[in-house]
C-alpha cells in the first residue's frame, strides 16, 4: 500500500520536470553529422561525377533499392547512365556508402522527404546528384587511382610511381 502511494507521489513529481518532447516542426532536433538520411551522389572537386558505376552499392543494398546502368564516356571514364534509388524501400542502413570505393554515394542529414504519391519516392540520377563534394572535400578518385583515362595515363596519378617496364626487370 505504501509502495502504491510512493509510486503515485513519484508520478506527481514528474509534473515539475521539463517534458522531454522536442516539438519537431517548430523546434529542429540536433542531428549528428553522420546521420543516415537522404542519399545523394556527390561530385569530385573538378565538378565531375564521382560514381564509376561499379554496382557495389547496388550489391550491398539489403533491400535492393539501388539500380543503375554503367557506361563510359569518350575518355574511358566510367559513369552511370542512369541511377535510381527507390526511397520507399530504402532502410537507410548506410551499407551503400560503406561499399562505395569512390565516396560517390553518401547519406546526408536530411530526413524530411515525405510524399503524397509513392512514385515520387523513386529518385532518379538528376534528383540524387549534387554539385558539391559532400563529406570528402578534396577527394578525386581518378586523380589518385591508377586507372587510365583520357588525359591521364598510367603512372600520372598523385603519389603513383611510373609503371615498371617488365622487360627491364630481368635478373
Amino acid at each position: 500500500m505504501l509502495k502504491l502511494l510512493k509510486g503515485i507521489w513519484l508520478v506527481f513529481l514528474r509534473a515539475f520536470t521539463r517534458p522531454v518532447t522536442i516539438q519537431y516542426p517548430d523546434e529542429k532536433p540536433y542531428l549528428p553529422p553522420r546521420w543516415r538520411g537522404r542519399i545523394i551522389l556527390s561530385r569530385d572537386p573538378d565538378g565531375e561525377e564521382r560514381c564509376v558505376g561499379c554496382y557495389l552499392c547496388s550489391v550491398a543494398c539489403p533491400v535492393d533499392c539501388i539500380a543503375l546502368q554503367a557506361t563510359e564516356d569518350e575518355h574511358g571514364r566510367r559513369y552511370p547512365a542512369w541511377f535510381r534509388i527507390n526511397f520507399s524501400r530504402c532502410i537507410f542502413c548506410g551499407y551503400c556508402e560503406e561499399a562505395c570505393p569512390t565516396y560517390a554515394i553518401q547519406l546526408t542529414t536530411d530526413f524530411e522527404m515525405s510524399e503524397h504519391d509513392r512514385r515520387n519516392l523513386v529518385y532518379e540520377k538528376e534528383d540524387l546528384l549534387i554539385s558539391g563534394t559532400g563529406k570528402y572535400p578534396g577527394y578525386n578518385f581518378y586523380r589518385v587511382s591508377g586507372v587510365r583515362i583520357g588525359g591521364k595515363d598510367k603512372g600520372e596519378a598523385e603519389h603513383e610511381a611510373a609503371p615498371v617496364d617488365v622487360r627491364s626487370l630481368m635478373p
Binding site: L4, G7, I8, L10, V11, F12, R14, A15, T17, R18, P19, V20, T21, Q23
Partner: protein, 320 residues
C-alpha cells in the same frame, strides 16, 4: 409554476456548465497525463491546445453513426443515453453553493446512490445489445464490479449521514462548518474514493473496458456520437464523484474569503486531478483481484467504519 420558472435558469446553467466541463476534461486529462509522463499532450489546436475538445467534437459528429446489423437495435441506442441521463440526474441534488442547487431533496444522498446504481444498466445493456463476446464480457464485468462496489459505497457514506444527521446534501455541508468530515470519516473517505473510482470505471478499475484484453469492452461496437456519449458520461461521472467527495467529506462550498462557488470549484478540480493522477500512476487490476479486494477488504472496512461511527455518535448523544 413560479417554482419551476425560478429553477429553470439554474437547471440550464448547471447543464451547460457540466457539458462544457466534461468536454474540457478530455483536454485536461490528456494534458495532465502528458505532464506526468514528461511530454506535452495536445497543444496544437488553439492556445495551449484548448480547442482540442472542439476539434474532437467536430470529428465525432462527422463520424458515421452506425448500428451493427447483429445488434439489438433499440437497446443499443438507449444504452448510451442511460449513462448520461443518470449521471446528469445525480447532479440535480449536488449543492454547488447554498443557492445553486437544482433539487433540494431531503433524501439527496439516497437519490445519488440510486442514480449511480442505475448507470450500471447503461454498461450492462450496451454490452448485451452489442451482441459481441467482448462487449458481453465487458458488460458482465461491469455489472459485477458496479454491484459489488455499490454495496460499500453506500455503507461508507452512512458514517457521514450519522454525523450530519441528515440525507440532505445541503445539510451535510452545513454540518461540516466546524470540521470537515474527511477527518472523523477518513476511513469512509478512502473507501468512498476507491468505490468512486470503480463506479466511474477508471484506471485502476477500468476492467469493463480493459482495452488490452477486451478491445474496448462494452463500447467495442459503438462509434460516432454514441461512443461520444459513453465518453462524456465517463467524464461527467468523474466530475460527479469529485463533487460528491467535496460535498460529503471536504465541506462543499465552505471556505474562508473566497465565494462559495469558487471554493466548490477548487475542491472539485483538485479531486478531478487526483483521478487523472491515479490513472497516470497505477496499473489495471485483474478482475479476481478487484472482486476479492472489494468483498474481503473494502466491505469489512466499511462495516467497521459504520459500527465505530455509530457507537461514537450514540456515546455522544446518550439521551437518544
Amino acid at each position: 409554476m413560479n417554482e419551476v420558472a425560478f429553477r429553470l435558469p439554474i437547471i440550464a446553467g448547471v447543464l451547460v456548465t457540466l457539458l462544457t466541463l466534461s468536454a474540457l476534461l478530455i483536454w485536461l486529462e490528456r494534458r495532465l497525463l502528458g505532464f506526468w509522463q514528461e511530454r506535452y499532450g495536445p497543444n496544437r489546436v488553439g492556445p495551449f491546445g484548448l480547442l482540442q475538445s472542439v476539434a474532437d467534437m467536430i470529428k465525432i459528429f462527422m463520424k458515421e453513426d452506425w448500428v451493427p446489423p447483429f445488434a439489438d437495435k433499440a437497446v443499443f441506442v438507449i444504452a448510451p443515453a442511460v449513462i448520461i441521463v443518470t449521471v446528469l440526474m445525480s447532479f440535480a441534488v449536488v449543492p454547488f453553493t447554498p443557492s445553486i442547487v437544482v433539487a433540494d431533496l431531503n433524501i439527496g444522498l439516497l437519490f445519488f446512490l440510486a442514480m449511480s446504481s442505475l448507470s450500471a444498466y447503461s454498461v450492462v445493456l450496451a454490452g448485451w445489445a452489442s451482441n459481441n463476446k467482448y462487449s458481453l464480457l465487458g458488460g458482465l464485468r461491469a455489472s459485477a464490479q458496479m454491484l459489488s462496489y455499490e454495496v460499500f459505497m453506500g455503507l461508507s457514506l452512512m458514517g457521514v449521514v450519522m454525523l450530519a444527521g441528515s440525507f440532505n446534501l445541503g445539510d451535510i455541508v452545513e454540518a461540516q462548518r466546524d470540521l470537515w468530515f474527511c477527518i472523523p470519516q477518513i476511513l469512509g473517505f478512502i473507501i468512498f474514493l476507491i468505490a468512486g473510482l470503480a463506479e466511474t470505471k477508471r484506471i485502476p478499475f477500468d476492467i469493463p473496458e480493459a482495452e488490452a484484453e477486451l478491445v474496448a469492452g462494452f463500447h467495442t461496437e459503438y462509434s460516432g456520437m454514441k461512443f461520444g456519449m459513453f465518453f462524456v458520461g465517463e467524464y461527467l461521472g468523474i466530475i460527479l464523484i469529485s463533487a460528491m467527495i467535496t460535498v460529503l467529506f471536504f465541506g462543499g462550498w465552505q471556505g474562508p474569503w473566497l465565494p462559495p462557488a469558487i471554493w466548490f470549484s477548487i475542491k472539485t478540480f483538485l479531486f478531478i486531478c487526483l483521478f487523472i493522477l491515479l490513472r497516470a500512476a497505477l496499473p489495471r487490476l485483474r478482475f479476481d483481484q478487484l472482486m476479492a479486494f472489494g468483498w474481503k477488504v473494502m466491505l469489512p472496512l466499511a462495516l467497521v467504519n459504520l459500527t465505530v461511527t455509530g457507537a461514537l455518535v450514540l456515546a455522544g448523544h446518550p439521551s437518544k
